[in-house]
Amino acid sequence: MTASAHMVLNYLHGKFPFSSPPPSFDDFREILPSSDILLGTPPNKIRDYLKRIEQIGGNLRIRHLKGHDISTLELRIRQNTPPIALFDLMYYHTRSPLSRSSHATVVVGYTDEVLYANNPVYGPKYPYVKERFKEAWERRGMKYILITPKESLVRYISTT
């Protein structure tokens, strides 16, 4: 979850530069409570964690949304707001219904057959077969997170 959030931060910095670059991932991890290593990060806490980073605090909008189809994720990619999708990774690969955890991945592109994800485990352009991804995503309620600059910041940057 935090690795995905950090990836989006770096992406945003490339598009809408913050006053200074985002912290390294190791520095970002320092913000997290130790219990996150064992329990995973509660997605709803991402806003609080990002606020703690001085140079971007308050400049970001975090939305927790629910998709209805893969096309939702594709739309976000076309809008240049890469979504962080939460899905059942083990189910995607093994069809095992035993898994309880949610895996977060940043969806960065797509074709007719696959979604490309910048995955902390597999690398920057890992292809997920859409149909199977959809099933694994459905198992986690088709939730996704958007991290975008606040409207005012986008306007400010676009006029300077």
Partner: protein, 320 residues
């Protein structure tokens, strides 16, 4: 009519999303009935279960494995089945303490198994032999002289070696009477098998490591072996979870060790390379440095450990 199961599951998922973390998920809810003051009341009990992920990269093949340990139920949340309200939520600190305990239990099982399986290899560590030289001296002298007179009880020398005498007596390698020690029949047998003092000493050390490692640590305060066991055990813990003799980079092995044993310290990091060197020495052969500068385990040790350590609670491995 009680609220339905789907509703409770959605509510539980929302709580997990907001408060607990992505490694947690709800188990199968159960509807129960309790009687209080002659009134029946229904509740949903939803288990909180945890999957703990681990990523292992093999430096020789470049493959990555994503391993998930299904550690099972951590706690349970009780919902009022009429109103759908959770009655009490566990503290996040409590949940993380339970996960920590579960992981520590796995770590301890691997460690005990590693100590048992690789005790003879560990007995060949030069640092151990050096630290345990009083013990070697006692073995050699008692075998050579058949009866060795210990220094006077009041002397510094005696105070220094007494714990080693006690250890040898405890493990039944010498017989101690007044100020004299004599080799036991077991020690004689070990020596006569090869007529070799070094072999006898290594066999005694092997026995002590295998059967009295904790006593060595706690009672005799002999802790020289500790980092070697922890580092080796960290490697085999990862290899067992990957179900293969993976090649770990020095950095990944350090991460594994410091994560499993909470061993973050400059001093330990400074000595880490040297521990690895000793563990990979020809006679010790617990780890092996591959040509790509990564560390691999010993196949005989791994196969034996794998036989005795059926993977439990592991949901699966994804290899990419």
């Amino acid at each position: 009519m009680p609220i339905d199961k789907e509703w409770v599951l959605n509510k539980m998922n929302a709580i997990i999303y907001n408060r607990f973390g992505t490694n947690i998920g709800p188990g199968e809810p159960r509807l129960i009935t309790e009687i209080s003051d002659d009134k029946e009341k229904q509740y949903w009990l939803v288990p909180l279960e945890v999957d703990y992920p681990r990523i292992i990269e093999d430096r020789m093949t470049g493959t990555r494995r994503y391993i998930v340990f299904h550690l099972g139920k951590l706690s349970e949340v009780k919902f009022d089945a009429d109103q759908g309200k959770p009655l009490e939520l566990p503290e996040r600190t409590l949940l993380s303490a339970i996960v920590k305990r579960e992981l520590m239990q796995i770590r301890e099982r691997v460690e005990k198994l590693m100590v048992r399986t690789a005790s003879y290899n560990l007995a060949k560590l030069v640092s151990l032999k050096h630290m345990m030289s009083p013990l070697s001296n006692l073995i050699t002298s008692s075998l050579r002289r058949e009866a060795y007179v210990l220094p006077d009880m009041a002397s510094m020398r005696r105070q220094h070696i007494q714990k080693y005498v006690d250890l040898l007596v405890d493990r039944k390698f010498v017989v101690h009477e007044k100020d004299v020690i004599e080799p036991s029949p077991t020690l004689w047998e070990l020596f006569q098998a090869r007529n070799d003092y070094s072999y006898a000493i290594e066999c005694v050390l092997k026995d002590i490591i295998e059967n009295a490692y904790e006593i060595l640590y706690d009672k005799y305060n002999i802790r020289v072996l500790h980092p070697y066991i922890e580092i080796s055990s960290s490697y085999y813990d990862y290899a067992l979870s990957a179900q293969e003799l993976v090649a770990l980079s020095t950095e990944d092995l350090w991460e594994a060790y410091s994560g499993l044993y909470m061993a973050f310290s400059e001093r330990r990091r400074f000595r880490f390379d040297d521990y690895l060197r000793e563990l990979s020495q020809q006679d010790v052969d617990i780890l092996e440095e591959t040509e790509k500068g990564a560390w691999k385990g010993n196949k005989t040790i791994f196969d034996k450990m794998r036989q005795d350590f059926p993977i439990q609670g592991q949901t699966g491995i994804i290899t990419v």
